[in-house]
Symmetry: C2
Subunit: 327 residues, 2 copies
């Protein structure tokens, strides 16, 4: 009854990665309601926006407003994705406490996307580091800089990415000033054995500064990969409510791991996510209302909690009421 459960952090990234991946624009008011509902369910880490030109990503045009809303919750950790120094500046001004700067470890992907090699991209980290330090010297709270390594587990252009390249970029990002490393399976190609091997290679150079994993469920392995990462000591994962942003049943699908299914798995294994599954499932209603017709995914949402879990929750809640009525 008094088992101490190990904490696992689930970061809701649907407001960024999910919404960025669909054509429709979610009105700001619904983004606020989504944040409110996620917070009410116990989510304490959210990546809520990216700071990119609005003409490139109109879905993110209200990034500053959305961050301001999220910051109303004192114990919510609010992240934003930034592609460059200018984005970092806007994110910090808006109040983001964590900025995630992506860097592709695939040379082919990096050249195609930003016309720079991954190594050249490291300069951006140094510039962001300087900006953060200058801001901190001016008295502002210290912002955390996360190097978001992308295409780590495979690249649709290049194919396999050598482990040595991943380790080299991780080391370079830390040397250039990143606080921690996140690994992203951008293309949904990660497989279980590979996940363990990559984590060990990156940990060799990053140690405890390897913080989180970001899986997509393109080939149905998102939760299996999460299991391997847990076994290798990872305790932070990104996920999207309702698997928003990618259709797992369409060609080229790139949906994030589904938050509800991930929390269910973690819960069933005895990990403490701090998230109430029933409230989390209810929060899907915001998406259904904001994006009518948009497909919402999720196994748990369809099948429901198994009876044994529902029973356990009922007993727990009844004994809580019992305690409350006698206190």
């Amino acid at each position: 009854m008094n088992e101490i459960r190990e904490r696992v952090v689930v970061t809701e990234v649907g407001l960024r990665d999910g919404l960025q991946s669909i054509a429709r624009i979610m009105p700001t008011e619904y983004k606020r309601r989504w944040i409110d509902a996620a917070y009410a369910a116990g989510v304490r880490h959210m990546e809520v926006a990216s700071f990119v030109p609005a003409k490139l990503l109109p879905q993110m045009a209200d990034a500053a407003e959305v961050i301001a809303h999220a910051r109303r919750y004192a114990d919510l950790h609010v992240s934003a994705l930034v592609p460059n120094l200018k984005g970092a500046q806007h994110a910090i001004e808006a109040g983001a406490q964590r900025i995630v700067a992506p860097i592709s470890v695939s040379v082919a992907h990096s050249l195609a996307n930003v016309r720079k090699t991954p190594a050249a991209m490291l300069d951006a980290f140094a510039a962001m580091r300087e900006l953060i330090d200058a801001t901190a010297r001016a008295g502002a709270p210290r912002v955390e800089l996360i190097a978001g390594l992308s295409t780590v587990f495979g690249c649709t252009l290049q194919g396999a990415v050598p482990y040595a390249d991943i380790a080299a970029i991780a080391r370079g990002a830390l040397q250039a000033g990143a606080d921690v490393i996140a690994l992203g399976d951008t293309t949904g190609e990660a497989t279980p054995r590979q996940v363990g091997e990559v984590i060990e290679r990156v940990r060799d150079v990053a140690g405890d500064r390897l913080r989180s994993l970001h899986f997509h469920d393109t080939r149905g392995l998102g939760l299996a990969n999460t299991l391997v990462a847990l076994r290798h000591g990872i305790r932070e994962f990104d996920a999207s409510l309702a698997g928003l942003g990618g259709c797992p049943h369409a060609p080229g699908a790139t949906g994030n791991v589904n938050t509800e299914d991930l929390v269910f798995m973690l819960d069933s294994m005895g990990y403490d996510t701090g998230i109430d599954l029933a409230l989390l499932l209810e929060s899907r209603a915001v998406l259904a209302e904001a994006l009518p017709g948009e497909p919402l995914y999720g196994y748990l949402a369809r099948a429901g909690l198994p009876k044994q879990f529902a029973d356990a929750r009922r007993v727990a809640s009844e004994s809580a009421e019992h305690v409350a009525s006698h206190s």
Copy 2:
């Protein structure tokens, strides 16, 4: 290049569990073609029918014909599900080499389904054992008797199933004459930590005679659960082509783990299934033709092989051609 890969057996159960779970009847000719295509892809274990009264399960009325067809392949291991002694007799007469006799470990489920406690069901195993031994004494090849423990990981009526009950039924089944034990997540409620714990409890009483696991993907955990079972030494798994027989996106869904997705995961981890993924994916065409409009599932079928896997296969096939052209 010469890595010795560990064998994992994947048993195709779509012809039994898949077809049994949909209302439509697949004509015998298509069942033959399905068996042919699976065999051509390298599948060497198939559960192809169940021997139950045709008025209860008209989908299985051609069980004997289907088994006769499967037995044309000398190195194919052909199983049938049998609910009782009469079914066992028919299956053996038809030529099944393995008979799977289900026994529910949930008392509530067993009483509701067969009006007998699990313990009383063990008598059936003893009778089947006698039948098999008598048949063998008469000179027929020895048939293997598999105790298929069902509702192992949870029951929709009873909720949680005590581990002690599972272990007791496993021990009882072996004592009554079962050769090996298979564990089935009938209700799709298995979760990763539980899978490891149940395997260890059953192994305590069954040792190496705990042979295979049968997962459903109701809550998206089929492959994650498989990963845990692999770690606990299990090397045989059931699966259904195209996840036939259950809609993972509908309430009460009970689809088996998808064969293609399972083989992809095993392949990616370096296990040798003997199954050619490209041919396996092609074999879905038989289902599409036989059951027009029936939903076919599968992540890999939609997303395709990652480029790095496709590349590795191309290189391997080119070097095989190279060797061939010089030999």
